[in-house]
Symmetry: C2
């Protein structure tokens, strides 16, 4: 399960709910050093959203000026999902379009710097 | 599904096979700009390993000097899994030990800069 580091987990959780329909799958935990650790569920897949803690090597994309792991969503209607994400505050990295590798796919960056591929197999 | 960016996907795929028993779940694809895109499977979960392409905002931990998303493995025997990863070339970030949040868990960094939490619920 991927664990996404962000500067403001509480805000990011709200964004993932509005943008993708994610729901919190378990009560939030606060680490001994004060960071929120939240477990979300999206279409049956789990992921975590965690506050940044640079001392523990948990760096946000804002701190590193980029991201090292992308999240790949396979959905029924990538155009609609990407549009909803953008309405919620994401920005388009690559617009949804038919790709040479047999997918209709695009990519958005969320307000916390994580990148989401949104596509379907053609 | 997480997509891990690395500088040398071919090497990293071999490492994930040796360290975690991952297997390639589909034939490797080479992007039009020359990057390997490989789909791996580990205990029923899929993830991708992709060559770095900074021009397309696919940055490796080596380039960003850190990582923004950790991978969380829940296994039967975290001590053994972490030991095998270290034998394959990973380095210990935090040793496997009983944690206050009800898990026995540790953390290793793989040779490509990605961080893996390895634990079980107590």
């Amino acid at each position: 399960m991927p664990m996404l580091t962000v500067r403001t987990a509480a805000e990011a959780i709200d964004f993932y709910r509005r943008a993708f329909g994610a729901r919190e799958a378990a009560p939030r935990v606060t680490s001994p050093t004060g960071q929120i650790v939240a477990e979300l569920e999206l279409d049956g897949q789990r992921f975590f959203v965690v506050d940044e803690n640079v001392a523990a090597f948990n760096n946000s994309p804002d701190t590193l000026k980029g991201t090292t792991v992308r999240l790949n969503l396979v959905v029924d209607d990538p155009d609609a999902v990407a549009e909803r994400a953008v309405e919620a505050g994401a920005t388009v990295v690559f617009p949804v379009s038919d790709q040479p590798y047999g997918m209709r796919q695009g990519r958005v960056a969320d307000p916390y710097g994580h990148h989401w591929l949104i596509g379907k197999h053609l």
